[in-house]
């Protein structure tokens, strides 16, 4: 049975630049679990990861955090809350 894909999510300006809101990223056929940085590179978007924050399963995470099948991974442009 194939491992569950990773659910990718984008918001606000990043979503509009990319032209998509969410997509499933198939769990790769490799020895090491993928990292947010690896996935970001594979997406081919213009924004630099240095300007973004990463959330894994609704919590902030580092760009090298090993992902698990079925994780929800979000790339977040700078926050402007409150």
């Amino acid at each position: 049975m194939a491992a569950a894909p990773i659910r990718l999510r984008l918001f606000a300006s990043l979503r509009e630049e990319a032209g998509w809101e969410q997509q499933d990223w198939p769990w790769p056929d490799q020895n090491q679990p993928p990292t947010p940085e690896q996935i970001w590179r594979s997406l081919g978007l213009t924004a630099s990861l240095d300007d973004l924050r990463i959330a894994v399963n609704f919590e902030f995470a580092g760009r090298q955090q090993p992902l698990q099948p079925g994780d929800e991974l979000a790339f977040l442009s700078p926050i402007s809350g409150g």
Partner: protein, 151 residues
């Protein structure tokens, strides 16, 4: 275990009246010191155009969770008794309240410091994004307004 802290956090697409919320919350959490902050939509954009509406996008699931975590962390750190956060999402008209932060404590110092620190935390660490709508055009706001230098 530390003392029980009441942390009440709510996201809502509906307008809210800060003063009636505060009255209800305060009756449930009587304290010698209460500090509040209310943030409202400015009537002009960052580029000084008339603002028709502010759109506040959030990451559902993460935003609620982050607000709860930030409020709990700050409440514990400052040793306060109760925290209330109410935050609008969606389209908000000029002058309407976007955010209400209220803190109840035994002393004025912790109440004020917690209120201030929590406001900064949620401005920087809760997944919200603002878009200003003016003359039919929407512009994403890059980062937060500065604290302001006063004077």
């Amino acid at each position: 275990m530390g003392p029980v802290i009441s942390v009440q956090v709510l996201l809502s697409p509906e307008p809210f009246d800060p003063y009636s919320l505060l009255a209800i919350w305060s009756a449930d959490h009587p304290a010698a010191a209460e500090s509040h902050f209310i943030g409202r939509v400015r009537p002009v954009t960052g580029a000084n155009q008339q603002l028709d509406a502010l759109e506040l996008e959030h990451y559902p699931g993460m935003a609620e969770r982050q607000l709860q975590q930030l409020a709990t962390t700050q409440a514990q750190h400052h040793g306060v008794k109760a925290v209330l956060v109410q935050h609008r999402v969606g389209l908000i008209t000029p002058k309407a309240a976007i955010v209400l932060v209220a803190v109840a404590a035994d002393r004025r110092g912790p109440a004020q410091r917690c209120c201030q620190a929590l406001l900064e935390a949620l401005k920087h660490d809760a997944p919200f994004w603002k878009r200003e709508w003016s003359a039919g055009v929407g512009t994403w706001v890059q980062g937060n307004t500065p604290l302001g230098d006063g004077g």
